[in-house]
Amino acid sequence: MDRAIDATEMDVTLAGRVAAEPGGERIWRCFACGTCTASCPVTEVTERYNPRRIIHMVLLGLATEVLTSDFIWLCSTCYACYERCPQDVRITELMHAIKNVAVREGHVHPSFRAQVGLIRAHGRLYDITGFENERRAELGLPALAEQPEEYQQILASTGIEALVQPAEGGAD
């Protein structure tokens, strides 16, 4: 964002939408000290990800800039900020909440679309074929079985598939 904020574009409901998500409740506690950003291993390697800035953008209501961005998907979920935050904002869970809002409003990172497809197809992130079980048998390890049915039932029950429209068979 390299321009001045236009106050007429600010969506005052954004922070409330994030706070209504599980994990997002504590966003109001943030006093912008920057301990999160100073602790963040991703910030150490790229300026594109800055947790304090993201929280501040949500509080300002910069909905389009946040929810359609690539940067919200750059949290590695390491919990360094979560442990250090003096206001116990639980930032890792807050970042999950922001991404959940983005998904609900139609902005899903493609890598997650693929993961939903894999879980629906296999109940896991990897396809288990004869090859995998042969390798396992050579080492004396028990065979694995794919049991995706209960995952399909869970996915069908929560409405996630309508939001994400997973790739068929996990391929994207």
């Binding site: 390697v45 997650f112 079985a145």
Partner: protein, 298 residues
């Protein structure tokens, strides 16, 4: 007898068979009884970013499967451990949430979770339940002179609340103590608490790979003979991706990566084959020489 259901997760049983093999063998040597539950599947971690409730239902399903068999969960993957432990914590603490999740779980797959089990990482079971003293007594091979850099990763110990604060997230010590118990030397290095970057490999490879690069550099600088990990995803970042990171930066690290149970197995007198050492991609002469050491005869 220490009894658990072994939770393999998605990645370990497909991509890091050396880890699983060494964990099963060392568990057998140290009196940890592990049963397999065939129906275990994905823990829910990948979907936390997408849809909180779906991820929680997936976690609750796996917790319910273990509870049905009356076993606590022992997981190899740190992300599975963290995800299941956190789901367990909130489901145990919030009865209204547990009831809501149980209604949905019963309606969709006919299961319930009553909140009666605990979730542990394999390394934590070694540290807390087997204990350092028993490990020291069982060691039969001299590994002194092997210098190892402990990589704790993130979800093994954080969020600390989900792991009963068994570790200090700012200054963890369990893995260093476990390494020392084998007779090898644990070396300190800059940034040892830092993340492997695995969580964003799918979203942005270039950014993700910048994280392990820093750790490889720092561990090599500290004179480590190998990095010791307790999570399959950390291993993917440091070992599977190491050649690529070297090429991207015209660097040469050549740093072997060991799963802690492999190191432990070698110390207990298991052979390189028994701990799956041929599956480790980055080889070093020193490590091969240590792996070939014979147990002391007494």
């Amino acid at each position: 007898m220490i009894e658990y259901a072994l939770y393999l997760g998605c990645t370990a049983p497909v991509r890091t068979l050396n880890y699983e093999l060494a964990a099963r063998k060392t568990a057998g040597r140290l009196g940890i009884d592990l049963v397999d539950i065939e129906e275990f599947g994905c823990c829910g971690f990948p979907l936390k970013s997408v849809h909180h409730e779906t991820a929680l239902l997936m976690s609750a399903r796996n917790l319910a499967l273990a509870e049905e068999r009356g076993r606590d969960i022992c997981a190899l993957c740190s992300s599975c451990t963290g995800t299941l432990a956190e789901a367990n914590r909130i489901l145990q603490a919030d009865e209204a949430l547990r009831q809501k999740i149980n209604q949905k779980l019963e309606a969709s797959i006919g299961r319930r979770y009553e909140g009666t089990i605990k979730v542990r990482h394999f390394a934590r079971v070694l540290y807390e339940e087997v204990g350092l003293e028993r490990i020291r007594q069982a060691v039969s091979v001299d590994l002194s002179g092997l210098r190892l850099a402990a990589h704790y990763g993130c979800h093994y110990l954080k969020p600390a609340e989900a792991h009963d604060h068994f570790e200090d997230p700012e200054n963890p010590h369990s893995l260093d103590a476990l390494i020392a118990a084998t007779g090898a030397q644990s070396v300190l290095y800059e940034g040892r608490e830092q993340c492997c970057g695995g969580g964003i490999l799918g979203a942005d490879e270039e950014t993700a790979l910048a994280l392990p690069r820093l750790k490889l550099e720092r561990a090599v600088k500290a004179g480590a003979d190998a990095l010791v990990v307790v999570c399959p995803f950390c291993d993917i970042m440091y070992e599977f991706q190491q050649r690529r990171i070297e090429k991207m930066h015209q660097a040469r690290y050549g740093l072997p990566v060991l799963f802690y149970p492999q190191l432990l197995g070698l110390a207990l007198g298991l052979s390189g084959d028994e701990v799956g050492l041929s599956l480790n991609r980055v080889k070093s002469k020193k490590l091969i020489e240590f792996a070939a050491r014979e147990p002391a005869s007494n």
